[in-house]
């Protein structure tokens, strides 16, 4: 598959934007400026952005706590991410939900929950809906490595396979589930081998190479769209920050982090784009400036937005 220049640049832009948003979230959190917890996906940008870019309008995406930046290519405004963390009424949940649990069905983005991986079955349900309504769409869901231990993961895969649904299941294998290393989570070396049990295609890919991610997930998406059923894709990466803002992750050996720092998905991709001439120094500067402004505006928007009104506390529990 040849990835055209426009997409290459978009992949670059969204990874950079996503990282900048998360860096700002972290500093605001450390300054005590936001009431929300933070879950950072630093180091995993190639997977979240690459997967999200492989989708089309009308497709759905189900994120976990750690991949809010996957919403960016699907059209989520960075302002919404900050407003959500600030608990402001201008956020998609109007301040009712915290952290990365926001969404927008008009953009195909589910508003997910903390319970993992509850949106694997839900995503399979969206795929079922597309099939029943004869819509040419695909449902993509993310899970962490740890959450593949839960029954919901397996039930969703089985369901999607039995009914041959247009679904793509992505596992971000970042080697840890909170403090629990994969060695205590599972006996399989490759999570993608779990697909065998459901007679589903499964593959393991380099999750730090955005082009690899994009190409492989695009292939699975196209296959699903073509009525050829679901795929499980394990993208291998590393969680470069603690589980959440308060976790110093003392349980992760420094050498492991050092090894993965060299595989930074953005640094490497930028180098490659420069080398092949897709990206110039000037363009990098321009992107940096644009991103800085976008993040500034988004933070200002969140800061200036009002909190929800107490009077509205009990509204909207039902339609």
């Amino acid at each position: 598959m040849r990835v055209n220049k426009k997409i290459k640049i978009e992949l670059y832009y969204y990874m950079r934007l996503g990282r900048a948003i998360e860096e700002r979230l972290e500093s605001l959190y450390r300054q005590g400026r936001m009431p929300s917890a933070i879950y950072l996906g630093r180091g995993q940008e190639a997977i979240t952005v690459g997967a999200a870019m492989a989708l089309e309008d009308g497709d759905t995406i189900a994120t976990t706590h750690r991949d809010v930046i996957a919403m960016l290519p699907r059209g989520m405004d960075p302002k919404m991410i900050f407003a959500q963390h600030y608990g402001k009424v201008t956020s998609p949940t109007k301040g009712r939900g915290e952290a990365t649990y926001l969404g927008d069905m008009s953009k195909g983005i589910f508003t997910t929950v903390s319970m993992l991986p509850d949106f694997y079955p839900v995503s399979a349900g969206a795929a079922l809906s597309f099939k029943l309504q004869k819509m040419p769409n695909v449902a993509l869901a993310f899970s962490g490595d740890g959450a593949t231990s839960r029954g919901d993961f397996h039930e969703a895969l089985n369901f999607a396979s039995v009914l041959q649904l247009p679904a793509v299941f992505v596992v971000e294998n970042n080697h840890f589930a909170y403090s629990t290393p994969n060695s205590k989570e599972m006996k399989v070396d490759q999570i993608s081998t779990r697909a065998i049990a459901y007679d589903m295609e499964g593959s393991t890919i380099d999750g730090n190479d955005v082009l690899t991610v994009y190409e492989n997930i695009k292939k699975a998406v196209d296959k699903a769209r073509g009525g050829k059923g679901p795929t499980l894709i394990e993208a291998v990466t590393m969680r470069m920050k603690g589980h959440s803002g308060h976790d110093p992750m003392n349980y992760v050996p420094e050498e492991l982090l050092e090894k993965w720092r060299k595989k930074d998905p953005i640094d490497n991709y930028q180098r490659r784009l420069k080398k092949e001439g897709t990206l110039t120094k000037e363009e990098i500067v321009r992107v940096s400036e644009e991103i800085e402004k976008t993040v500034e505006d988004a933070v200002a928007f969140a800061e200036e937005s009002p909190f929800p009104r107490e009077e509205d506390l009990v509204l909207d529990v039902y339609r």
């Binding site: 009431p35 608990g87 009424v89 009712r96 939900g97 903390s114 506390l313 009990v314």
Partner: protein
């Protein structure tokens, strides 16, 4: 100084005392029970190397080893079910659910397997499932719930909701020694905020027994969990209005200690219930029904409830504060009831 503390001090006048937080009290109970009975083991997510999301079991792995402090895979159904199996075959597992909100992921094993075992097979299921519940930490709809009432509708389970460090320690020991499945909710807002003197020697607090934390004349206020502290605060403020509150801490909500409640209401003739859980079919409903049933003729006013509204726990600070019953709300309701 709170009356709770006065009371503990009084009962332990001679004993050697040590200040412990609510969290430390729970850690101590676990530690001492692990030392006392080698059938006891702990299992849950991130409880070993990491010492638990709230650090309740910090240092346990080094001391007790991997067979007794088990880091479970992320699968609540799996390890709750496994704990039940271990309980049926001679061990006494204590399960940690990282946040009470996630207990629903293991719901079926708890309510169908553990709860209904003894009634049919006469086999005990000595398992404790302990978990941090409750709001107030800006943690949003999925890390703040108070799911205690769900389990108080399931015969075969016992549901414990301690409101003080002293009670938490004594009740957790009782839970571990109990031959029935006990669901033990620890209010996470209290973990590091509430401290009191604990005796050094081993003690237990009976499950199913409420405690009168403050004696009073005018109104019986029935509460539990984190609302105990707000209720005591309200009672302090009401003294200056000339209103004398009797504060009953349920400590166990299933089975309910109806006798203690009724005795108090017969004395005061007025009753109110305060809980953080939402209103509809919260424990307040059951307490009110029991009072209406057994003390109707003694009542000199409506049975009042101060609870959260029937909505999910919202995240934004303004909303969460409005969601939670506050001391002002308790004072207001008590004053109205007093003047009724």
């Amino acid at each position: 100084m709170s009356t709770v503390k006065e009371k503990v001090n009084a009962t332990n006048k001679e004993a050697q005392l040590k200040q412990s937080s609510y969290l430390e009290a729970i850690s101590l109970a676990l530690w001492e029970e692990l030392e006392r009975d080698d059938r006891v083991f702990l299992i849950g997510e991130d409880i070993g190397v990491y010492g638990g999301a709230f650090k309740v079991t910090e240092g346990f792995l080094d001391h007790f080893g991997e067979d007794r402090i088990i880091d479970a895979p992320l699968e609540e159904t799996g390890f709750i079910g496994a704990a039940i199996g271990a309980a049926l075959t001679g061990l006494r597992p204590v399960v940690e659910i990282q946040y009470a909100d996630f207990i629903s992921c293991g719901w079926d094993q708890i309510v169908n397997v553990a709860a209904k075992m003894h009634y049919r097979s006469f086999e005990p299921v000595p398992i404790v499932i302990r978990s941090p519940s409750g709001a107030g930490l800006r943690a949003g709809p999925f890390h703040s719930q108070s799911p205690e009432a769900w389990f108080s509708h399931v015969p075969g389970l016992k549901v414990v909701v301690p409101g003080t460090p002293y009670d938490a320690k004594g009740l957790l020991k009782s839970a571990i020694r109990d031959d029935n499945p006990v669901i033990f909710f620890e209010h996470k807002y209290l973990y590091r905020r509430l401290k009191e003197d604990l005796p050094d020697e081993d003690y237990t607090i009976p499950i199913g027994k409420a405690d009168v934390k403050r004696f009073g004349e005018d109104i019986s206020l029935i509460t539990y969990g984190a609302m105990l502290q707000k209720s005591l605060e309200a009672a302090d403020r009401l003294i200056s209005e000339g209103i004398s509150m009797e504060i009953i801490d349920l400590r166990t909500i299933y089975p309910l200690d109806i006798e203690t409640i009724i005795d108090s209401v017969k004395k005061t003739s007025k009753a109110m219930i305060v809980h953080e859980d939402i209103r509809t079919l919260g424990i307040g409903s059951e307490v009110a029904a029991n009072i209406a049933d057994a003390a109707f003729e003694y009542l000199d006013g409506p049975i009042k409830r101060v609870t959260a509204p029937d909505i999910p726990v919202p995240f934004s600070p303004i909303l969460e504060d409005a969601f939670l019953p506050q001391t002002d709300d308790i004072v207001h309701a008590a004053t109205e009831l007093f003047n009724y």
